[in-house]
């Protein structure tokens, strides 16, 4: 039984998984509202090596960036936009919406934002920090066109990933609770801005380098264990 060989192999697999997760973060570094993930590991005890303890998504706030879209809105604080498509519900922090032909606000993939309907003759839009949406009509009249409420969860980290920046509720996350933005201590809406992915390129690069070094170290362990086994096997020839 060559325990070192197997322990070192679990170490190589762990670093490989770390690289996979970091690569996915980097690939989505320009996706609005993307939340980075991190792989965690725990010891198997004794000389047995390590095992994955799950991939965790980190919902820390991304940087808000001024944007030029017709109906871009970002969340400052916790919560998600509640969106729907083909009867399926999802939650996202990507607020790049546009007026669709049916008057609803939809994102580029057709997901509809709850609670807002834009009249056909609207010429301008704005959103207050409290989520109220106003439109300016062709005749310069201003009217309210709905209100954006945000979905919050008891355990947001237990949401299921359903697309690069969309999430779905699970039993572990709890059901969505709708809150009105703009309250003290609560989330706020920022009109004319989008939330960038919370991926730091520099930190990702550092993570890649350190995973690569750790992979090499474990590969050396595999090599040493293999070499020693070879020597032991050759003992017989004297």
């Amino acid at each position: 039984m060559n325990r070192a060989l197997y322990a070192a192999a679990t170490g190589m697999a762990a670093q490989q998984q770390t690289l996979d997760v970091v690569a996915d973060n980097l690939a989505n570094a320009d996706v609005t509202g993307f939340k980075r993930a991190t792989a965690t590991f725990a010891s198997l005890g004794g000389d047995l090596g390590t095992a994955p303890a799950g991939v965790r998504r980190l919902f820390e706030q991304g940087k808000l960036e001024k944007s030029g879209g017709p109906f871009d809105v970002a969340i400052e604080g916790e919560g998600f936009f509640s969106v729907e498509r083909d009867g399926r519900r999802a939650y996202t922090r990507a607020g790049a919406f546009a007026r669709a032909s049916d008057g609803a606000l939809r994102d580029a993939e057709g997901w509809r934002l709850d609670g807002v309907r834009i009249p056909a003759d609207a010429t301008a839009l704005d959103v207050g920090a409290d989520g109220r949406v106003f439109v300016t009509l062709a005749n310069r009249a201003r009217q309210e066109a709905g209100r954006i409420r945000l979905a919050t969860f008891a355990a947001p980290e237990r949401l299921r990933t359903a697309g690069s920046a969309r999430f779905a509720a699970t039993n572990e996350s709890g059901r969505a609770r709708l809150v009105t933005p703009g309250a003290e201590h609560g989330p706020k809406l920022v009109f004319g801005a989008l939330e960038r992915a919370n991926v730091s390129i520099v930190e990702s690069m550092m993570a890649i380098l350190s995973a690569q070094r750790a992979y090499e170290a474990n590969a050396k362990g595999v090599q040493a264990a293999d070499e020693m086994q070879r020597i032991a096997n050759n003992l017989h020839r004297g």
Binding site: R3, A4, R213, A214, A217, N218, L235
Partner: protein, 200 residues
């Protein structure tokens, strides 16, 4: 104990040292892991290897998650499946739908009195006081004199370079013992063959 047994024991010992180093290396990324140190002792039955745990504090890494907790000077406690309070130095906790904070193995974080409840917007200060929107909602169970670092995890205390040196040294020790074993074996073979030839 003859030379061949002694050298075989030395090869076993080198293998045991490699097992320890390989397990340490594989846990370079396991948060809170504490490395084991191999000790070789030469006794009447040859070389034997035992190991102990190196309790030095690993470096604290900033993660920015409120529910990643590291401790300095003591421990916090989680409750395992049997209801026992287990001391831990660092824990990456997630909320479940009931507001309990669970670590990677599903063990609940303990408060000063029973399980702790928190919400997604909670903060935890250095004394282990949990606040939600400014109001105190609980307190962590801690050993006296412990300070809590929220947003940090204790990294593994394995030093890759150190372990690599151990791997190489175990490998060389194994080779040396094997060479010596072969030399003894050859010498004996010669003895036996020569004796046989003289008699013939």
């Amino acid at each position: 104990m003859d030379g061949i047994e002694l050298m075989a024991g030395a090869m076993h010992a080198a293998q045991a040292r490699l097992d320890v180093s390989a397990a340490n290396l594989s846990n370079l990324s396991s948060a809170g892991f504490q490395r084991r140190i191999a000790h070789a002792t030469l006794g009447e039955r040859g070389l034997s290897v035992s190991s102990s745990i190196d309790r030095t504090q690993g470096p604290l890494e900033r993660t920015g998650r409120v529910f990643d907790l590291a401790t300095v000077g003591g421990t916090l406690f989680v409750r395992d499946a049997h209801g026992n309070a287990i001391p831990v130095r660092s824990a990456s906790l997630t909320l479940d739908a009931n507001g309990a904070l669970l670590d990677e193995r599903g063990r609940a974080l303990l408060g000063a009195s029973g399980a702790l409840r928190a919400s997604a917007g909670a903060t935890i200060d250095a004394q282990g006081v949990v606040r939600d929107a400014g109001n105190v909602t609980g307190r962590l169970r801690l050993t006296p004199g412990t300070s809590v670092e929220s947003g940090f995890l204790e990294r593994s205390n394995v030093d890759a370079v150190h372990e690599m040196v151990d791997v190489l040294s175990a490998q060389r020790a194994f080779e040396t013992a094997q060479k010596a074993l072969s030399a003894i074996d050859e010498a004996r073979a010669k003895d036996v063959n020569d004796v046989v030839r003289v008699k013939a």
